[in-house]
Symmetry: C2
Subunit: 254 residues, 2 copies
Amino acid sequence: MNRRRRVYEGKAKILYEGPEPGTLVQHFKDDTTVLHPKKSEVIDGKGVLNNRISEYIFTQLNRMGIPTHFIRRLNMREQLIKEVEIIPLQVVVRNIAAGSLAKRLGIEEGTVLPRSIIEFYYKNDELDDPMVSEEHITAFGWAAPQEIDDIMALAIRINDFLSGLFLGVGIQLVDFKIECGRLYEGEMMRIVLADEFTPDSARLWDSQTAEKMDKDRFRRDMGGLIEAYQEVARRLGIMNENDQTRPSGPVLVK
Amino acid sequence: MNRRRRVYEGKAKILYEGPEPGTLVQHFKDDTTVLHPKKSEVIDGKGVLNNRISEYIFTQLNRMGIPTHFIRRLNMREQLIKEVEIIPLQVVVRNIAAGSLAKRLGIEEGTVLPRSIIEFYYKNDELDDPMVSEEHITAFGWAAPQEIDDIMALAIRINDFLSGLFLGVGIQLVDFKIECGRLYEGEMMRIVLADEFTPDSARLWDSQTAEKMDKDRFRRDMGGLIEAYQEVARRLGIMNENDQTRPSGPVLVK
Ligand SMILES: Nc1ncnc2c1ncn2[C@@H]1O[C@H](COP(=O)(O)OP(=O)(O)O)[C@@H](O)[C@H]1O
Ligand SMILES: Nc1ncnc2c1ncn2[C@@H]1O[C@H](COP(=O)(O)OP(=O)(O)O)[C@@H](O)[C@H]1O
Ligand SMILES: [Mg+2]
Ligand SMILES: [Mg+2]
């Protein structure tokens, strides 16, 4: 199994060469890293949960005709994806003020924004992912104007659909980060959603209690991260009996 | 109360003059009418449920920045809305083949469509709401090309958000009909969602059992319409204790 070529190892995932050209295997690790404040920890089982949650979300987006890199889940920690040319931007969609936006603009966390706001950050760990505008993006050639339009349209569709989905399961989609890529199919190129959608990359608050169900639990040393991710999976209806961490009673051996 | 001027009485709703210029009061009746096969019945309590369901959906759409005519609910059967110039089109969005599309194109009901399909019908009871294309719409001046684009963009956003919302509560959004209108605000005109979003105007199937939770129960003489609409409201989280048809036990008199 480990004779596969490792293409890239990032903070939370590993990419391996896929079984066919143009495919990759995306492996979700338990590593949990944040840049502000800089810290990292291995949180047992997080990768398994993120693999399942991202599978579910990307499957539903594909069904809605919102294009993604996702092909299928392979096992507990891995999924088969289409290789894309990653656009080096972190695209953030915000519905409610939180995190860096709340701090930078002096808006109280939890304030509903006048409308959804899309932000771009240049994806570069050494530079701490600096915020950039369309001017920087086109001047440095990271994406063409038409591609920025496509990315924004994609981001709005994703936000519309997922805001509805999470509302339905009693969760507020506060904000999220996505990465997009260029998918080449013959002569054609389209912008598709790549990377992941997980509680690592989104802020999810319980609708009733505003309890945090995302990586802010780690960022702010609140504990209970795995339980929160499990609850997100449970509400989305993607936890089945096999996923219980402990059997609730005697198990029949067949 | 009934000194208000009645502006229009339709098959399922009555419009009254509103308290301020540019507003109307939309009253939901219990009348349940279908054109194919032509029949009508009064179903006790349907108007109350539709008023609540439409209130909830339009409120959430407004929050998403998807513009609607809805201002606020006034009472059990009535809501305050902005008066618009109704575009005489029924705009149908379909995700899964059902009803007339299934019959006309010979596709089995329940077939997932290759992609969401938007259809236009000319709103005219005497003519049985005939299907029309963009050619007819622009030739007869019902809407300008730019307005059709705006309507389609609105329809896609509504479909994205509501597909997510209903998925989250275990319901498939099979298809739905909307009406749009021109809202004049000073010099500005925008296309907004008008009329209603209810189980009268949408096909809603239980995700697990595919049971119908919409007006098809009446159209196909299946019974249980009110119970189905109540279940839709309950899943959306908009039924509170006051809405129970019967108290479940002794009630404390305060
Ligand atoms: N479909 C794809 N094709 C190519 N690269 C991808 C694809 N999806 C995600 N990636 C990249 O794989 C990496 C995932 O690993 P991750 O641990 O998140 O890395 P990082 O620490 O750079 O964020 C990211 O750099 C992401 O841009
Ligand atoms: N905001 C609005 N302003 C003006 N007219 C509206 C608005 N919303 C809905 N309408 C119209 O009000 C009527 C609602 O009553 P309904 O019983 O549904 O009528 P119909 O039998 O014509 O479908 C519809 O004709 C609809 O086009
Ligand atoms: Mg990453
Ligand atoms: Mg009507």
